[in-house]
Symmetry: C2
Subunit: 221 residues, 2 copies
Protein backbone atom coordinates (compact mmCIF):
# COMPACT_ATOMS: atom_id res chain seq x y z
CA UNK A 1 0.00 0.00 0.00
CA UNK A 2 1.14 3.56 -0.71
CA UNK A 3 -1.40 5.68 1.17
CA UNK A 4 -3.93 5.42 3.99
CA UNK A 5 -6.94 7.75 3.89
CA UNK A 6 -8.77 8.65 7.09
CA UNK A 7 -12.29 8.22 5.71
CA UNK A 8 -15.29 9.49 7.67
CA UNK A 9 -17.76 9.29 4.79
CA UNK A 10 -18.10 13.07 4.59
CA UNK A 11 -17.30 15.51 1.80
CA UNK A 12 -13.72 16.26 2.83
CA UNK A 13 -12.49 12.73 3.36
CA UNK A 14 -14.28 11.46 0.22
CA UNK A 15 -12.51 14.11 -1.86
CA UNK A 16 -9.21 13.25 -0.15
CA UNK A 17 -9.81 9.62 -1.10
CA UNK A 18 -10.33 10.59 -4.74
CA UNK A 19 -7.05 12.55 -4.69
CA UNK A 20 -5.11 9.62 -3.24
CA UNK A 21 -6.62 7.27 -5.83
CA UNK A 22 -5.66 9.65 -8.63
CA UNK A 23 -2.08 9.82 -7.36
CA UNK A 24 -1.38 6.19 -6.41
CA UNK A 25 -4.06 4.14 -8.15
CA UNK A 26 -6.97 2.52 -6.29
CA UNK A 27 -5.16 -0.75 -5.56
CA UNK A 28 -2.43 1.07 -3.62
CA UNK A 29 -4.84 3.04 -1.45
CA UNK A 30 -6.30 1.86 1.86
CA UNK A 31 -8.88 3.68 3.96
CA UNK A 32 -9.53 3.59 7.69
CA UNK A 33 -12.81 4.63 9.31
CA UNK A 34 -13.32 5.15 13.02
CA UNK A 35 -16.50 4.36 14.91
CA UNK A 36 -16.12 6.19 18.18
CA UNK A 37 -19.65 6.21 19.49
CA UNK A 38 -20.78 9.08 17.33
CA UNK A 39 -24.50 9.65 17.01
CA UNK A 40 -24.50 9.16 13.29
CA UNK A 41 -22.91 5.73 13.01
CA UNK A 42 -24.53 5.93 9.61
CA UNK A 43 -21.18 7.52 8.72
CA UNK A 44 -19.52 4.12 8.58
CA UNK A 45 -22.08 2.91 6.03
CA UNK A 46 -21.24 5.84 3.79
CA UNK A 47 -17.54 5.19 4.25
CA UNK A 48 -17.97 1.54 3.25
CA UNK A 49 -19.96 2.51 0.16
CA UNK A 50 -17.31 5.07 -0.85
CA UNK A 51 -14.54 2.49 -0.43
CA UNK A 52 -16.46 0.17 -2.77
CA UNK A 53 -17.20 2.91 -5.27
CA UNK A 54 -13.53 3.89 -5.54
CA UNK A 55 -12.48 0.18 -5.61
CA UNK A 56 -9.62 0.82 -3.21
CA UNK A 57 -7.24 -1.93 -2.10
CA UNK A 58 -8.37 -2.14 1.54
CA UNK A 59 -10.83 -0.60 3.96
CA UNK A 60 -10.92 -1.08 7.69
CA UNK A 61 -13.53 0.12 10.17
CA UNK A 62 -12.07 0.40 13.65
CA UNK A 63 -14.18 0.81 16.77
CA UNK A 64 -12.75 3.21 19.33
CA UNK A 65 -15.06 2.16 22.15
CA UNK A 66 -12.79 3.55 24.83
CA UNK A 67 -13.49 7.12 23.76
CA UNK A 68 -16.75 7.51 25.62
CA UNK A 69 -14.98 6.62 28.86
CA UNK A 70 -12.52 9.49 28.59
CA UNK A 71 -14.57 12.49 27.58
CA UNK A 72 -18.12 13.59 26.89
CA UNK A 73 -19.61 15.60 24.03
CA UNK A 74 -22.70 16.08 21.92
CA UNK A 75 -21.60 13.97 18.94
CA UNK A 76 -21.37 10.88 21.11
CA UNK A 77 -24.47 11.46 23.20
CA UNK A 78 -28.05 10.97 22.13
CA UNK A 79 -29.45 13.72 24.31
CA UNK A 80 -27.06 16.66 24.15
CA UNK A 81 -27.91 19.55 21.86
CA UNK A 82 -25.51 20.61 19.14
CA UNK A 83 -24.67 24.23 19.77
CA UNK A 84 -21.97 26.68 20.75
CA UNK A 85 -22.53 27.49 24.39
CA UNK A 86 -22.23 31.08 25.53
CA UNK A 87 -18.69 31.90 26.62
CA UNK A 88 -17.28 28.75 24.98
CA UNK A 89 -14.97 28.82 21.98
CA UNK A 90 -15.85 25.38 20.70
CA UNK A 91 -19.16 23.86 19.65
CA UNK A 92 -20.52 20.99 21.78
CA UNK A 93 -19.56 18.67 18.92
CA UNK A 94 -15.88 18.83 19.80
CA UNK A 95 -14.54 15.33 20.46
CA UNK A 96 -11.34 16.04 22.34
CA UNK A 97 -8.22 14.89 20.52
CA UNK A 98 -10.18 12.98 17.90
CA UNK A 99 -7.88 13.70 14.96
CA UNK A 100 -4.85 12.99 17.08
CA UNK A 101 -6.17 9.47 17.73
CA UNK A 102 -7.22 8.95 14.12
CA UNK A 103 -3.85 9.96 12.72
CA UNK A 104 -1.90 7.90 15.22
CA UNK A 105 -4.00 4.79 14.58
CA UNK A 106 -3.77 5.35 10.82
CA UNK A 107 0.01 5.64 11.15
CA UNK A 108 0.31 2.38 13.10
CA UNK A 109 -1.64 0.64 10.34
CA UNK A 110 0.38 2.46 7.67
CA UNK A 111 3.58 1.03 9.14
CA UNK A 112 2.03 -2.44 9.17
CA UNK A 113 1.14 -2.06 5.47
CA UNK A 114 4.34 -0.27 4.44
CA UNK A 115 2.53 2.94 3.42
CA UNK A 116 4.21 6.30 3.91
CA UNK A 117 1.36 8.78 3.27
CA UNK A 118 -1.73 9.48 5.37
CA UNK A 119 -4.47 11.61 3.83
CA UNK A 120 -6.85 13.58 6.02
CA UNK A 121 -9.54 16.07 5.08
CA UNK A 122 -8.91 18.55 7.90
CA UNK A 123 -9.01 22.25 7.10
CA UNK A 124 -8.05 25.43 8.88
CA UNK A 125 -10.23 27.47 6.57
CA UNK A 126 -13.53 26.24 7.96
CA UNK A 127 -11.97 26.25 11.44
CA UNK A 128 -14.91 25.77 13.73
CA UNK A 129 -13.09 25.81 17.02
CA UNK A 130 -11.50 22.38 16.59
CA UNK A 131 -7.86 22.76 17.63
CA UNK A 132 -6.81 19.45 16.06
CA UNK A 133 -7.68 20.67 12.55
CA UNK A 134 -4.95 23.32 12.61
CA UNK A 135 -1.77 23.03 10.57
CA UNK A 136 0.40 23.61 13.64
CA UNK A 137 -1.13 20.53 15.23
CA UNK A 138 -0.72 18.41 12.09
CA UNK A 139 2.99 19.26 11.90
CA UNK A 140 3.54 18.50 15.58
CA UNK A 141 1.58 15.26 15.29
CA UNK A 142 3.59 14.14 12.27
CA UNK A 143 6.81 14.68 14.21
CA UNK A 144 5.50 12.84 17.29
CA UNK A 145 4.27 9.91 15.18
CA UNK A 146 7.56 9.58 13.30
CA UNK A 147 9.45 9.44 16.59
CA UNK A 148 6.97 7.08 18.23
CA UNK A 149 7.09 4.58 15.38
CA UNK A 150 10.62 5.24 14.15
CA UNK A 151 9.03 5.29 10.70
CA UNK A 152 8.72 7.97 8.06
CA UNK A 153 5.11 8.82 7.44
CA UNK A 154 3.77 12.07 5.99
CA UNK A 155 0.40 13.54 6.84
CA UNK A 156 -1.14 14.95 3.67
CA UNK A 157 -3.75 17.69 4.12
CA UNK A 158 -4.93 18.81 0.66
CA UNK A 159 -7.69 21.09 2.04
CA UNK A 160 -5.79 22.76 4.85
CA UNK A 161 -6.02 26.18 3.20
CA UNK A 162 -8.83 25.56 0.70
CA UNK A 163 -12.31 27.04 1.00
CA UNK A 164 -15.34 24.79 0.71
CA UNK A 165 -16.14 26.39 -2.68
CA UNK A 166 -12.66 25.47 -3.91
CA UNK A 167 -13.18 21.94 -2.64
CA UNK A 168 -16.39 21.64 -4.65
CA UNK A 169 -14.48 22.92 -7.70
CA UNK A 170 -11.84 20.25 -7.14
CA UNK A 171 -14.50 17.55 -6.87
CA UNK A 172 -15.93 18.72 -10.17
CA UNK A 173 -12.47 18.65 -11.77
CA UNK A 174 -11.99 15.09 -10.45
CA UNK A 175 -15.33 14.10 -11.98
CA UNK A 176 -16.90 13.26 -8.62
CA UNK A 177 -19.19 16.24 -8.02
CA UNK A 178 -22.27 14.00 -8.04
CA UNK A 179 -20.65 11.42 -5.80
CA UNK A 180 -19.86 14.11 -3.23
CA UNK A 181 -23.28 15.67 -3.66
CA UNK A 182 -25.26 12.47 -3.19
CA UNK A 183 -23.12 9.79 -1.60
CA UNK A 184 -21.43 11.49 1.35
CA UNK A 185 -22.66 12.35 4.81
CA UNK A 186 -21.50 15.58 6.45
CA UNK A 187 -24.61 16.59 8.41
CA UNK A 188 -24.38 16.46 12.21
CA UNK A 189 -28.00 15.33 12.27
CA UNK A 190 -27.28 12.36 10.04
CA UNK A 191 -29.14 13.49 6.91
CA UNK A 192 -27.18 12.36 3.80
CA UNK A 193 -26.20 14.54 0.81
CA UNK A 194 -27.32 18.14 1.28
CA UNK A 195 -28.31 17.27 4.85
CA UNK A 196 -30.61 18.98 7.32
CA UNK A 197 -29.40 22.35 6.04
CA UNK A 198 -29.39 23.79 9.53
CA UNK A 199 -26.43 22.40 11.47
CA UNK A 200 -23.04 24.15 11.16
CA UNK A 201 -21.63 21.38 8.92
CA UNK A 202 -24.55 21.62 6.47
CA UNK A 203 -24.41 25.39 6.31
CA UNK A 204 -20.70 25.36 5.51
CA UNK A 205 -21.06 22.63 2.92
CA UNK A 206 -24.09 24.10 1.19
CA UNK A 207 -22.77 27.67 1.15
CA UNK A 208 -19.59 26.42 -0.53
CA UNK A 209 -21.62 24.43 -3.03
CA UNK A 210 -23.78 27.44 -3.96
CA UNK A 211 -20.73 29.67 -4.21
CA UNK A 212 -18.99 27.27 -6.56
CA UNK A 213 -22.06 26.63 -8.72
CA UNK A 214 -22.79 30.36 -8.94
CA UNK A 215 -19.18 31.09 -10.01
CA UNK A 216 -19.29 28.26 -12.52
CA UNK A 217 -22.55 29.52 -14.02
CA UNK A 218 -21.06 33.03 -14.38
CA UNK A 219 -17.83 31.67 -15.91
CA UNK A 220 -19.81 29.56 -18.34
CA UNK A 221 -21.76 32.51 -19.67
Amino acid sequence: MKAIVVLSGGQDSATALALAVRKYGAAEVAAITFAYGQRHSLETKFARALARRFRIGRHKVVKLDFYRHLTSNALMSKDAAIEVKKGEKCPTTVVEGRNAFFLLAAAVWAKELGAHAIYTGVSETDFSGYPDCREAFIKAQQKAIRLALDYKVSIVTPFMHMTKAEEWALADELGIFDVIDNETLTCYNGVPGRGCGKCPACRLRNAGREEYLSRKAKGAK
Copy 2:
Protein backbone atom coordinates in the same frame (compact mmCIF):
# COMPACT_ATOMS: atom_id res chain seq x y z
CA MET B 1 -7.44 16.12 40.15
CA LYS B 2 -3.85 17.33 39.80
CA ALA B 3 -2.10 14.42 38.11
CA ILE B 4 -2.85 11.33 36.02
CA VAL B 5 -0.45 8.39 36.25
CA VAL B 6 -0.20 5.91 33.39
CA LEU B 7 -0.20 2.77 35.54
CA SER B 8 0.72 -0.60 34.06
CA GLY B 9 1.21 -2.38 37.35
CA GLY B 10 4.97 -2.72 36.81
CA GLN B 11 7.92 -1.38 38.78
CA ASP B 12 8.31 1.88 36.87
CA SER B 13 4.71 3.03 36.87
CA ALA B 14 4.19 1.99 40.50
CA THR B 15 7.17 4.11 41.54
CA ALA B 16 5.86 6.98 39.40
CA LEU B 17 2.53 6.64 41.21
CA ALA B 18 4.26 6.93 44.58
CA LEU B 19 6.06 10.08 43.41
CA ALA B 20 2.82 11.69 42.25
CA VAL B 21 1.13 10.81 45.53
CA ARG B 22 4.02 12.33 47.50
CA LYS B 23 3.80 15.54 45.48
CA TYR B 24 0.02 16.04 45.22
CA GLY B 25 -1.52 13.82 47.89
CA ALA B 26 -3.41 10.62 47.06
CA ALA B 27 -6.81 12.27 46.70
CA GLU B 28 -5.52 14.49 43.89
CA VAL B 29 -4.00 11.65 41.89
CA ALA B 30 -5.82 9.53 39.31
CA ALA B 31 -4.40 6.54 37.46
CA ILE B 32 -5.25 5.09 34.07
CA THR B 33 -4.46 1.54 33.00
CA PHE B 34 -4.74 0.24 29.46
CA ALA B 35 -5.81 -3.26 28.50
CA TYR B 36 -4.74 -3.64 24.91
CA GLY B 37 -4.90 -7.36 24.43
CA GLN B 38 -1.59 -8.05 26.08
CA ARG B 39 -0.84 -11.61 27.06
CA HIS B 40 -0.51 -10.80 30.72
CA SER B 41 -3.85 -9.13 31.38
CA LEU B 42 -2.85 -9.98 34.93
CA GLU B 43 -1.23 -6.53 34.72
CA THR B 44 -4.56 -4.84 35.23
CA LYS B 45 -5.12 -6.78 38.47
CA PHE B 46 -1.82 -5.53 39.79
CA ALA B 47 -2.66 -1.99 38.71
CA ARG B 48 -6.01 -2.14 40.54
CA ALA B 49 -4.33 -3.43 43.70
CA LEU B 50 -1.72 -0.66 43.55
CA ALA B 51 -4.42 1.97 43.11
CA ARG B 52 -6.12 0.63 46.25
CA ARG B 53 -2.87 0.41 48.22
CA PHE B 54 -1.99 4.05 47.48
CA ARG B 55 -5.62 5.12 48.10
CA ILE B 56 -5.64 7.39 45.06
CA GLY B 57 -8.62 9.49 44.08
CA ARG B 58 -9.58 7.63 40.91
CA HIS B 59 -8.51 4.69 38.81
CA LYS B 60 -9.77 3.82 35.38
CA VAL B 61 -9.04 0.72 33.30
CA VAL B 62 -9.56 1.40 29.61
CA LYS B 63 -9.75 -1.34 27.00
CA LEU B 64 -8.00 -0.53 23.75
CA ASP B 65 -9.55 -3.38 21.78
CA PHE B 66 -8.83 -1.75 18.44
CA TYR B 67 -5.11 -2.27 18.83
CA ARG B 68 -5.00 -5.86 17.68
CA HIS B 69 -6.62 -4.81 14.39
CA LEU B 70 -3.85 -2.39 13.53
CA THR B 71 -0.64 -4.22 14.27
CA SER B 72 0.69 -7.56 15.43
CA ASN B 73 3.32 -8.43 18.04
CA ALA B 74 4.33 -10.99 20.63
CA LEU B 75 2.88 -9.25 23.69
CA MET B 76 -0.62 -9.45 22.22
CA SER B 77 -0.37 -12.93 20.77
CA LYS B 78 -0.50 -16.20 22.66
CA ASP B 79 1.75 -18.07 20.27
CA ALA B 80 4.57 -15.74 19.31
CA ALA B 81 7.92 -16.11 21.06
CA ILE B 82 9.43 -13.17 22.93
CA GLU B 83 12.80 -12.56 21.38
CA VAL B 84 14.92 -10.16 19.35
CA LYS B 85 14.94 -11.52 15.82
CA LYS B 86 18.21 -11.51 13.89
CA GLY B 87 18.69 -8.31 11.95
CA GLU B 88 15.88 -6.54 13.85
CA LYS B 89 16.51 -3.62 16.20
CA CYS B 90 13.44 -4.17 18.36
CA PRO B 91 12.31 -7.15 20.38
CA THR B 92 9.10 -8.89 19.25
CA THR B 93 7.40 -7.31 22.27
CA VAL B 94 7.24 -3.89 20.59
CA VAL B 95 3.64 -2.67 20.45
CA GLU B 96 3.84 0.03 17.80
CA GLY B 97 3.00 3.47 19.14
CA ARG B 98 1.75 2.15 22.47
CA ASN B 99 3.04 5.00 24.62
CA ALA B 100 1.78 7.53 22.12
CA PHE B 101 -1.77 6.17 22.54
CA PHE B 102 -1.45 5.90 26.30
CA LEU B 103 -0.27 9.49 26.70
CA LEU B 104 -2.89 10.88 24.36
CA ALA B 105 -5.73 9.01 26.08
CA ALA B 106 -4.39 10.04 29.49
CA ALA B 107 -4.30 13.66 28.31
CA VAL B 108 -7.91 13.58 27.09
CA TRP B 109 -8.96 12.29 30.50
CA ALA B 110 -6.68 14.80 32.23
CA LYS B 111 -8.49 17.64 30.47
CA GLU B 112 -11.85 16.16 31.50
CA LEU B 113 -10.65 16.09 35.15
CA GLY B 114 -8.79 19.41 35.06
CA ALA B 115 -5.37 17.81 35.71
CA HIS B 116 -2.25 19.29 34.16
CA ALA B 117 0.39 16.62 34.84
CA ILE B 118 0.73 13.14 33.36
CA TYR B 119 3.24 10.76 34.94
CA THR B 120 4.77 7.95 32.95
CA GLY B 121 7.50 5.48 33.89
CA VAL B 122 9.29 5.46 30.52
CA SER B 123 13.08 5.49 30.51
CA GLU B 124 15.78 6.00 27.94
CA THR B 125 18.35 4.35 30.17
CA ASP B 126 16.97 0.86 29.81
CA PHE B 127 16.19 1.63 26.16
CA SER B 128 15.33 -1.76 24.70
CA GLY B 129 14.60 -0.66 21.17
CA TYR B 130 11.27 1.02 21.98
CA PRO B 131 11.31 4.34 20.14
CA ASP B 132 8.37 5.75 22.13
CA CYS B 133 10.33 5.65 25.38
CA ARG B 134 12.81 8.26 24.19
CA GLU B 135 12.88 11.80 25.51
CA ALA B 136 12.71 13.25 22.00
CA PHE B 137 9.41 11.45 21.48
CA ILE B 138 8.00 12.56 24.83
CA LYS B 139 8.75 16.22 24.04
CA ALA B 140 7.20 15.96 20.57
CA GLN B 141 4.16 14.15 21.96
CA GLN B 142 3.65 16.79 24.67
CA LYS B 143 3.65 19.50 22.01
CA ALA B 144 1.24 17.59 19.75
CA ILE B 145 -1.12 16.89 22.65
CA ARG B 146 -1.16 20.51 23.81
CA LEU B 147 -2.05 21.65 20.31
CA ALA B 148 -4.63 18.90 19.78
CA LEU B 149 -6.47 19.67 23.00
CA ASP B 150 -5.69 23.38 23.29
CA TYR B 151 -4.86 22.55 26.89
CA LYS B 152 -1.65 22.80 28.89
CA VAL B 153 -0.59 19.39 30.07
CA SER B 154 2.95 18.34 31.04
CA ILE B 155 4.32 14.84 30.63
CA VAL B 156 6.43 14.02 33.67
CA THR B 157 9.10 11.31 33.21
CA PRO B 158 10.97 10.90 36.51
CA PHE B 159 12.98 7.88 35.32
CA MET B 160 13.97 9.09 31.87
CA HIS B 161 17.67 9.19 32.78
CA MET B 162 17.68 7.00 35.88
CA THR B 163 19.20 3.51 36.01
CA LYS B 164 17.15 0.65 37.43
CA ALA B 165 19.46 0.58 40.47
CA GLU B 166 18.70 4.27 41.10
CA GLU B 167 15.00 3.52 40.75
CA TRP B 168 15.24 0.84 43.42
CA ALA B 169 17.09 3.33 45.64
CA LEU B 170 14.27 5.83 45.10
CA ALA B 171 11.65 3.20 46.00
CA ASP B 172 13.55 2.51 49.20
CA GLU B 173 13.70 6.24 49.99
CA LEU B 174 9.94 6.46 49.39
CA GLY B 175 9.41 3.54 51.78
CA ILE B 176 7.92 1.30 49.10
CA PHE B 177 10.79 -1.11 48.38
CA ASP B 178 8.72 -4.08 49.54
CA VAL B 179 5.66 -2.94 47.61
CA ILE B 180 7.71 -2.77 44.41
CA ASP B 181 9.45 -6.03 45.21
CA ASN B 182 6.28 -8.02 45.87
CA GLU B 183 3.27 -6.24 44.49
CA THR B 184 4.23 -5.26 40.95
CA LEU B 185 4.38 -7.21 37.72
CA THR B 186 7.15 -6.48 35.24
CA CYS B 187 7.83 -9.96 33.81
CA TYR B 188 6.88 -10.54 30.16
CA ASN B 189 5.90 -14.06 31.12
CA GLY B 190 3.41 -12.86 33.73
CA VAL B 191 5.26 -13.99 36.85
CA PRO B 192 4.76 -11.41 39.66
CA GLY B 193 7.48 -9.85 41.83
CA ARG B 194 10.95 -11.07 40.85
CA GLY B 195 9.36 -12.81 37.86
CA CYS B 196 10.58 -15.60 35.61
CA GLY B 197 14.09 -14.18 35.86
CA LYS B 198 14.79 -14.95 32.23
CA CYS B 199 12.90 -12.45 30.04
CA PRO B 200 14.57 -9.08 29.24
CA ALA B 201 12.29 -7.20 31.68
CA CYS B 202 13.14 -9.53 34.57
CA ARG B 203 16.86 -9.40 33.88
CA LEU B 204 16.87 -5.63 33.87
CA ARG B 205 14.77 -5.38 37.01
CA ASN B 206 16.68 -7.99 38.97
CA ALA B 207 20.12 -6.72 37.96
CA GLY B 208 19.13 -3.23 39.16
CA ARG B 209 17.80 -4.66 42.41
CA GLU B 210 21.00 -6.60 43.10
CA GLU B 211 23.15 -3.60 42.22
CA TYR B 212 21.25 -1.36 44.60
CA LEU B 213 21.20 -3.89 47.45
CA SER B 214 24.89 -4.59 47.02
CA ARG B 215 25.71 -0.87 47.11
CA LYS B 216 23.49 -0.38 50.12
CA ALA B 217 25.17 -3.26 51.97
CA LYS B 218 28.62 -1.75 51.27
CA GLY B 219 27.48 1.72 52.29
CA ALA B 220 26.03 0.36 55.52
CA LYS B 221 29.33 -1.26 56.57
